[in-house]
């Protein structure tokens, strides 16, 4: 039996520069920057005071009316995923339970619930600090926390379902409930590599025949005090507080760290014949997946392998899986998010695997206006790469100058309008933890 082919039929980006394919893609092409001084809370005490926050995000527009009250037990990460799933399914023209109930799709479902899977990358969801701080404060005696008082009184100030707000699998869980997805379900928690691993595993799950359609990708919010502090402790952040639009400078010689943000990206992967039968628009085909690990430094905050060993393993495996030579790739969507060591590590791996071809191949990077949201970042890279392959356009990496000779890649800083990309590859890696993954995208002739 020939392996089943897998195509991308729907995209749902939720980002600080726009939500939905059109707003997101135009934002990238127009060099919109979604990073600014943090507004959700006063960042005055932090060295990096910037964040990519999303305004006006509404769960009400993404779920059936009867499900709106469930928003009370959704951490921000979950909201991002639920909105992204809605947008991606709608973009794909799939008629799920949610879209039919909301009146956004008419007719009967065009996907079998038991063949509809979910695989969503998630981060370590930060507890809602104000809620938890208030409860903890209620258990103090003379300014000191009292375990005895916490057990008898303090903990009762947390809502009974408190724990369910922060379980990483609740992103997938709410999405399965809202859309009636009863097929294979998974939640990958591998930092910034989560989305790529989730998309890659979903690709395998469809290929082996366990499902026909999968809602996959990732989402996370790092625009809260706890996440910001963690990244600051890890010395990962830019301190260009006066110039937020210039702060995140992936692969530039003068980069000084990344910027935290929030966002999510879910994509619809679909078995080719299933998509053809319902005459779906096909953005591109997914033809290769590879994963690897640095196996280098277990101590936190961990450093990447200097030559990007895990990225190199993932790239080689992805090319082999796609049955193409590295020279056949004409576009690389790099994950680089502005960190000194990590950007160089990834670039070194790309040069190592592509050899002389590395100097010729176009490299795109979209982090300048988006920063790094963690588990959802890779999905946004993947979505942008799919749109680039689909449209032949590359959005400008507007902060990636002057180029860092130590990275040595051909970064497209001014944008490109008439490209012809037969194969593109998108990479991602966890900033800590050592996980790496790569996905090979092929242009769809009839797309």
């Amino acid at each position: 039996m020939n392996p089943r082919r897998v195509v991308v039929t729907g995209l749902g980006p939720v980002t600080p520069i726009g939500t939905g394919v059109t707003a997101f893609w135009n934002g990238l092409l127009e060099k919109r920057c979604g990073l600014r001084r943090m507004q959700n809370f006063d960042p005055a005490r932090f060295a990096s005071q910037l964040g990519g926050e999303i305004d006006g995000l509404s769960i009400a527009n993404a779920v059936p009316k009867g499900y709106r009250k469930a928003a009370k037990i959704m951490a921000r990460d979950i909201v991002l995923a639920v909105v992204a799933a809605h947008d991606a399914l709608r973009d794909a023209g799939l008629r799920t339970k949610c879209l039919i109930e909301r009146g956004e799709a008419s007719g009967s479902p065009n996907v079998d619930n038991t063949r509809l899977g979910v695989n969503i990358g998630a981060g370590l969801i930060c507890a809602d600090l104000p809620e938890l701080a208030e409860a903890l404060h209620s258990a103090t005696e003379g300014g000191q926390f009292s375990f005895a008082k916490w057990g008898t009184e303090g903990m009762n100030n947390l809502t009974p379902l408190w724990l369910l707000k922060f379980l990483p699998n609740m992103l997938a869980c709410h999405v399965t409930i809202v859309h009636g997805a009863e097929g294979p379900s998974n939640t990958i928690t591998c930092g910034e590599a989560s989305s790529h691993l989730a998309i890659g595993e979903a690709y395998r799950t469809i290929a082996r025949g366990s499902e026909d359609v999968c809602i996959c990708g990732g989402a996370e919010s790092k625009t809260n005090p706890m996440a910001l502090l963690r990244q600051e402790l890890g010395q990962r952040l830019s301190t260009r507080n006066d110039t937020p639009e210039q702060a995140c400078r992936p692969l530039a010689a003068d980069r000084d760290g990344t910027v935290v943000s929030e966002g999510g990206g879910l994509v619809i992967l679909e078995e080719l014949e299933h998509a053809r039968k319902r005459e779906a628009r096909i953005y591109a085909e997914l033809v290769g997946f590879g994963a690897g690990h640095d196996a280098y430094e277990p101590r936190q905050p961990s450093r990447p392998h200097p030559e990007g060993r895990g990225t190199a393993v993932a790239l080689r495996k992805a090319f082999k899986d796609a049955a193409i030579a590295a020279e056949q790739v004409s576009l690389i969507a790099s994950f680089a998010c502005g960190l000194r060591e990590h950007d160089r590590s990834e670039a070194t791996a790309i040069r190592g695997v592509l050899g002389e071809h590395a100097a010729r191949v176009a490299v795109m990077n979209i982090k300048a206006g988006l920063g790094n949201n963690g588990a959802g970042s890779g999905a946004l890279d993947f979505i942008a790469a799919v749109l680039a392959v689909h449209s032949g356009r590359i959005p400008p990496a507007f902060n990636s100058t002057p180029p860092d000779p130590a990275c040595g890649l051909n970064v497209v800083t001014e944008g490109l309008a008439n490209g012809n990309f037969e194969y593109a590859i998108s990479t991602a890696y966890a900033l800590g933890g050592g996980q790496n993954a790569a996905l090979v995208i092929k242009r769809q002739a009839n797309g």
Partner: protein
């Protein structure tokens, strides 16, 4: 080409000990790992007991390698130690015999425990009762002083898998799934698929978790999911018993070495069992409770049976999810009846959570290990603390006494909060 997946090594760190065989003997004897909580002062909590791992010293397992992993979190330490034991058990601790790029890791690893005292100090300092709001400036002042990068990043759920990859030079696919209580069953199933499809020849798979910390117990107590039988905690975990009142938190890790069959045979590995079936589904019902007919559980068991190409009558033992909550045990029983029909009354079922407690993300892995040991020895572990039959749970739960049986094929269930269902089927290699 149909690549088969075999188990060649196993290791665990459990509330009943750290050694594969002595823990197994204690399970067969119906011993309990439950005792009053010592990890933190929970004396006023609704639940004041847990199944803690005792006398754990990571250095004893890692020897000279310890220093690189010394600051890992409690659950990552459990994972590393269990992996070390499994790796040795598989006979892989000598010269590397498998290409490092074809050795992967797939864990259902939980998040590390929060840096509680320091987190609390910052939270209390940051809360402004007059304004009824968090003062982020004040919070950050204290948090920046007291929290450390090491302790914060070690909480990330992908850390344990990273530690293991570094320890064993595993450069292949490396993933962590965190599908709540189903996570390590899922991890083992997905790891088997990675070998089947050729992306790796060996996978270090399983899970680890510890939620026996103040906020973990708080979260489950608020959900009223835990037993509150403080006066008789050793008997508190009583799956399928009419008087069950919730689960008991456990902690620990279970790690299995999975290998491609022909490669394992070629290197002369001992074949402990074969992973022949895996199913994963979602209830897609409600966040808070299970579909009352157990549709997701039914679908997961059926998917695993189909994947394994075995009939329900061929299953010799079911390792139940069996948490000891009113709802789970009733729904799981109903789902087993639907899948197994008349045979449901004949197949022996037990829940070792009655002795280990519930290891959450790590539960499925320690339970699969018990299935493999049951196959090896022809002995089925009991459901301890089973006293009063529940009319809603009317199957054979192997009450209190282990049992001799011919065990060739076992099915293991894990169900997670939010409607995640995973089932594995393992079979003898002989």
């Amino acid at each position: 080409m149909n690549r088969r997946v075999v188990i060649t090594g196993m290791g665990w760190i459990t509330p009943l000990g750290h050694d594969l065989d002595s823990v197994w003997q204690r399970l067969l004897a119906g011993d309990s790992g439950v005792a009053p909580t010592t990890i933190f002062d929970g004396r006023t909590f609704p639940t004041q007991f847990a199944a803690e791992v005792k006398n754990f010293d990571l250095q004893r397992f890692l020897g000279a390698q310890f220093e690189r992993h010394a600051s890992c979190s409690r659950n990552a330490g459990f994972a590393l130690a269990a992996a070390e034991l499994a790796w040795r058990h598989a006979g892989l601790n000598g010269r590397p015999v498998i290409d490092p790029e074809l050795v992967g890791v797939y864990l259902g690893g939980g998040e590390g425990p929060i840096d509680f005292d320091n987190f609390v100090a910052a939270s209390i300092a940051g809360w402004n009762p007059e304004k009824h709001a968090l003062d982020a400036v004040r919070w950050a002042e204290v948090a920046a002083q007291r929290l450390t990068a090491v302790k914060e990043f070690e909480q990330d759920p992908n850390c344990a898998a990273g530690h293991i990859a570094c320890r064993f030079n595993a450069q292949g696919p490396n993933l962590n799934t965190l599908t709540a209580c189903a996570a390590s069953t899922q991890a083992i199933g997905e790891a088997a698929l990675i070998i089947r499809r050729g992306d790796a020849d060996a996978m270090i798979a399983g899970g680890a978790h510890s939620m026996i910390h103040p906020l973990g117990v708080t979260g489950f107590n608020r959900l009223t999911a835990l037993s509150t039988r403080n006066d008789s905690c050793v008997q508190a975990s009583r799956p399928f018993d009419r008087t069950r009142d919730g689960f008991v938190l456990g902690e620990g890790a279970g790690i299995l070495i999975l290998e491609e069959y022909t490669a394992a045979k070629r290197r002369g590995a001992r074949l402990l069992g074969e992973i022949i079936g895996y199913g994963s589904t979602a209830d897609a019902f409600r966040v808070t409770d299970m579909d009352e007919d157990g549709r997701g559980a039914i679908a997961a068991m059926r998917a695993a049976l189909t994947d394994a190409n075995v009939q329900p009558q061929e299953i010799d033992y079911i390792s139940a999810h069996g948490t000891g909550t009113e709802e789970n045990d009733k729904v799981e029983t109903r789902a087993i009846k639907t899948v197994f029909g008349e045979f449901a009354k004949k197949v022996p079922i037990s829940s070792v959570k009655s002795m280990f407690g519930h290891v959450i993300a790590g539960a499925g892995a320690v339970e699969l290990i018990t299935c493999v040991l049951a196959i090896r020895d022809g002995l089925l572990p009991p459901t301890a603390n089973y006293q009063e039959p529940d009319p809603n749970c009317d199957l054979d739960y192997i009450p209190n006494q282990s049992r001799r049986a011919t065990v060739r094929t076992c099915l293991s269930n894990s169900f997670g909060f939010g409607g995640q269902n995973d089932t594995l089927i393992v079979r003898t290699c002989s």
